[in-house]
């Protein structure tokens, strides 16, 4: 890890913007999604772009990245008019876009991924790849992002954080002057996030301009120099970081101030009988000796770092993944040979952390998604015919009660909904079964502040009705705001449990940072 990549160019005059956007407009099918958006970005600075889902962040970045074409407005890049014909053209002109879902090919090596469009050639003009040169240049680029791996390693073998660094190396290789990060930290461990921020700082020092999009406002405050807030396709705020606070960002994003992001609940209300009793659940390589109890009407939070085994535990509890020893009891009855179906029969419900892959039929309308888990409840007779009248009525009621905003739930496909509405569809699907145990894995991931608030209200009303709730979240703030108790996991073990009176951010974080008795590979 020697030869650092040469700084890409000397920083231009600090007061001359590298990228200047003015009056950017864009409509899709007659709906205006961007209205006269304008901001400017200087070399060697990090600009944070924040806003709720649907505020126009992605569209703006997609126009800069060449994915979409603008309807009106001006973009000046490096002093000249900039009009990319496509993503490839944008990349060639020096704009790199690191998408939230990383665009790497798992079946190819790191080096091949770095040069997939522009391999070094053996003989200029002929199509043959110079593999040795590719490896050498790849090694240099990897060194520049502190990634100590052989360039011929398959991407398949890399962790999420390592893959992200490969993407950055790719941007460096393409001599990018502007790098756009779209939600880069959502699937990184704390350590990986720190490493990413170090690299971003280094890029900034090299004179590269960075646009940083994130929902995690703490991160934005930490890493950015300038902050632009979007709402409904308009720029509603634009300031130096020093003139901005998280509270102000939130109120700009929402358009009103949220005094009460976390709706109140009567935490002192007496809890009911134990509903979910987990004792000694162990699965080699995943979780060890997990023991806890949740009572009716209680909200139990599970905190921990990425990869602490929280989601794995949830999947074991819901019968998706196996466990080797221990016992799970629901209302005193042991759950035998758990599968999702068996667990559902015990009154469990499970909100997955990845709603696109495991939660929804994206190509189906809303009503079919909501009905999916409850069909048997509405079927009877010899042929198992569905009572469509009753089913449709209940689905309609459910959709209204979780406040899904769509004109016609039988016609609107789920893929056309916003993240928040999609999440409400998944929640509605489970509520239709009237679960007594609801396991929520990252219930507010990737949804905007308004929708978050509505999800919290639903959770509270469930708890008030006597359901027991297991809530997994990476945002400690959210757990502190919502839970009766918080359990902290690290390396597949429960490290601490806190009662509502004793919630303390630092203690929770310290328990989560436990590094195990031996260091792990991941």
């Amino acid at each position: 890890m020697t030869a650092p990549v040469s700084p890409l160019q000397a920083a231009p005059e600090a007061d001359q913007p590298l990228l200047k956007i003015e009056g950017l407009c864009k409509s899709f099918f007659g709906v205006e999604v961007l209205h006269k958006v304008g901001f400017s970005l200087k070399a060697g600075r990090v600009l944070g772009l924040v806003g709720e889902n649907g505020s126009g962040k992605s569209t703006t970045m997609n126009i800069i990245g060449g994915v979409h074409q603008k309807d009106a407005g001006q973009i000046q890049f490096d002093g000249v008019d900039y009009k990319p014909k496509g993503p490839r053209d944008a990349a060639r002109q020096g704009i790199a876009f690191i998408h939230q879902e990383l665009n790497l090919f798992r079946n190819l090596s790191i080096a091949e991924n770095l040069f997939i469009t522009e391999f070094p050639k053996l003989v200029p003009g002929l199509p043959f790849i110079d593999r040795a040169a590719a490896r050498k240049r790849a090694a240099e680029l990897l060194a520049a992002v502190d990634l100590d791996l052989s360039p011929s390693t398959l991407v398949n073998k890399l962790s999420q954080g390592e893959r992200q660094l490969v993407e950055i190396a790719k941007a460096l290789g393409a001599k990018a002057k502007v790098i756009i990060f779209d939600e880069p930290t959502t699937s990184l461990t704390t350590r990986e996030t720190e490493r990413l921020f170090d690299i971003i700082n280094r890029l900034r020092a090299q004179g590269i301009a960075i646009i940083y999009i994130s929902h995690i406002l703490d991160d934005v405050m930490r890493i950015c120099d300038d902050i632009v807030v979007l709402r409904d396709g308009h720029v509603v705020g634009s300031a130096l970081k020093s003139d901005m606070t998280i509270e102000r960002m939130i109120s700009l994003m929402v358009g009103r101030s949220i005094d009460q992001l976390f709706p109140p609940r009567d935490y002192s209300a007496p809890k009911g009988e134990p509903v979910l009793e987990v004792s000694g659940v162990t699965q080699r390589g995943t979780v060890k000796d997990i023991t806890f109890t949740v009572r009716a009407g209680e909200v139990l939070g599970i905190s921990g770092l990425m990869g602490a085994g929280r989601s794995e535990l949830a999947r074991i509890l819901f019968g998706i993944d196996p466990y080797s020893s221990g016992e799970i009891k629901v209302s005193g009855v042991p759950v035998v040979a758990p599968t999702p179906t068996v667990c559902m029969d015990h009154g469990m419900a499970f909100l997955t952390e990845d709603r696109r892959v495991e939660g929804l039929m994206m190509e189906a309308p809303i009503d079919n998604n909501i009905a999916l888990s409850s069909l048997q409840k509405y079927a009877g007779g010899l042929g198992g015919f569905i009572d469509h009248g009753r089913l449709d009525g209940d689905v309609q009621k459910m959709s209204a009660s979780v406040q899904i905003s769509a004109k016609d739930i039988a016609r609107t496909l789920v893929k056309n909904l916003s993240g928040g509405n999609q999440q409400k569809v998944v929640i509605g699907k489970w509520l239709l079964r009237e679960p007594k145990i609801f396991i929520l894995d990252e219930p507010t991931r990737g949804i905007d502040v308004g929708a978050k608030n509505e999800v919290y209200k639903i959770i509270n009303s469930l708890a008030a009705r006597g359901a027991c709730i297991l809530m997994i979240s990476s945002e400690i703030e959210e757990l502190v705001g919502m839970c009766d108790r918080i359990m902290v996991m690290a390396h597949g073990e429960i490290r601490a449990t806190f009662d509502r009176g004793g919630f303390n951010r630092e203690d929770i974080l310290r328990a989560a940072m436990w590094d195990g008795n031996r260091s792990t590979a991941a």
Partner: protein
């Protein structure tokens, strides 16, 4: 509410008539009718009662296989083995019933035993396909490709064991009636097909299993997490396809009066083509029995008209291919139209 098919979302204002037509689920039926109307001028014989009855009885066996295939396609599978099931069932069933030393000959129950043999062959092969796909995680294309190769070979081999001829004849008259008989002027096979199609339609649109099929086709992971027994659902789709192929084999064998090992050899691509022309997606989650019926009707009418025109086999092939292609292009364009709204 409609069933779990991909409902055509209409968020925008009313569309012009041609777009509405293009997006209509009756498009294939309309195309068939238009084609038929044009053909009435080219070959007037096409509009006679005899021809129409011919078309009807020709499409019956094909339709039953296509209905079975629809189930498999909805779960994003494919069943290439259907034609070989037809062939294998045909010779096994015939060997049970035939007057030339058939296994059940003279027992008085030969027709029933024969039909049971047909269904047994279909369900056993379907069970095998389903097991390989769901238990051993093998890709449906390859599993059914190998069962296709195996059983088309096995059918020929089985025939050589039973007879020196290339097929097994001398079947009971009452069996042949199933394929050839008419009731009130309509083919008896129509009754069989109506029962199968009706049952299939109700399973898909009205039962839990039907909804599960679509869910598995659209997103198997989400279906599993939502409590759908994904493996069972896929497994039974293959069994249904096998049984449908066996029923089709009964109709075919009855029509031809012999158990033939090359029966259905050439219909594989017709079956899948018909389903897809009707609008069933090869990628799963989308399909209806009605669409499959339209697709089969479309292909059969074209076949018949080309035959009536007395065209050489070369032209029949080329025209049929072009029409499939045209239908596919129209379908692709309407998808584009759907997406762009």
């Amino acid at each position: 509410m409609t069933s779990a098919d991909a409902t055509i979302a209409s968020k925008a204002r009313p569309l012009p008539a041609w777009k509405r037509l293009l997006l209509s689920e009756y498009l294939v039926l309309i195309l068939t009718v238009v084609y038929f109307a044009v053909m009435m001028f080219v070959v007037p014989e096409i509009a006679t009662a005899d021809t129409l009855l011919d078309v009807l009885s020709a499409m019956m066996p094909l339709l039953v296989v296509a209905i079975g295939q629809t189930f498999v396609l909805i779960v994003a599978g494919i069943d290439l083995s259907a034609p070989s099931i037809i062939a294998m069932a045909s010779v096994v069933g015939a060997s049970v019933m035939t007057g030339d030393a058939g296994y059940a000959n003279g027992s008085g129950l030969e027709v029933i035993a024969g039909i049971l043999a047909f269904l047994a062959v279909g369900s056993v092969i379907g069970l095998f396909n389903g097991t390989c796909v769901t238990r051993f995680n093998m890709p449906p294309f390859i599993v059914t490709l190998t069962t296709m190769m195996f059983f088309s070979g096995a059918a020929i081999w089985y025939t050589t064991v039973h007879t020196d001829a290339s097929s097994i004849g001398n079947l009971p008259r009452s069996f042949i009636e199933i394929g050839q008989g008419r009731v009130a002027g309509l083919p008896l096979s129509l009754a069989v097909v109506l029962v199968v199609a009706g049952a299939a339609h109700f399973i898909l649109s009205r039962t839990v299993y039907g909804r599960w099929l679509y869910a598995v086709g659209l997103n198997p992971k989400a279906a599993a997490v939502s409590g759908v027994p994904v493996r069972k659902v896929i497994f039974w789709a293959f069994v249904i396809s096998g049984v449908c192929a066996a029923i089709s084999s009964v109709l075919y064998t009855g029509r031809l009066e012999t158990g033939t090992p090359v029966l259905g050899q050439r219909i594989l691509l017709d079956v899948i083509g018909a389903a897809v022309i009707g609008g069933v997606s090869l990628f799963g989650g989308k399909g209806k029995i009605l669409w499959t019926i339209f697709g089969v009707l479309f292909l059969t009418v074209i076949d018949k008209s080309l035959q009536l025109m007395g065209l050489p086999i070369a032209s029949v092939f080329a025209i049929k291919g072009s029409i499939i292609l045209a239908a596919a292009i129209i379908d692709a364009q309407r998808h584009r139209l759907l997406v762009s709204r």
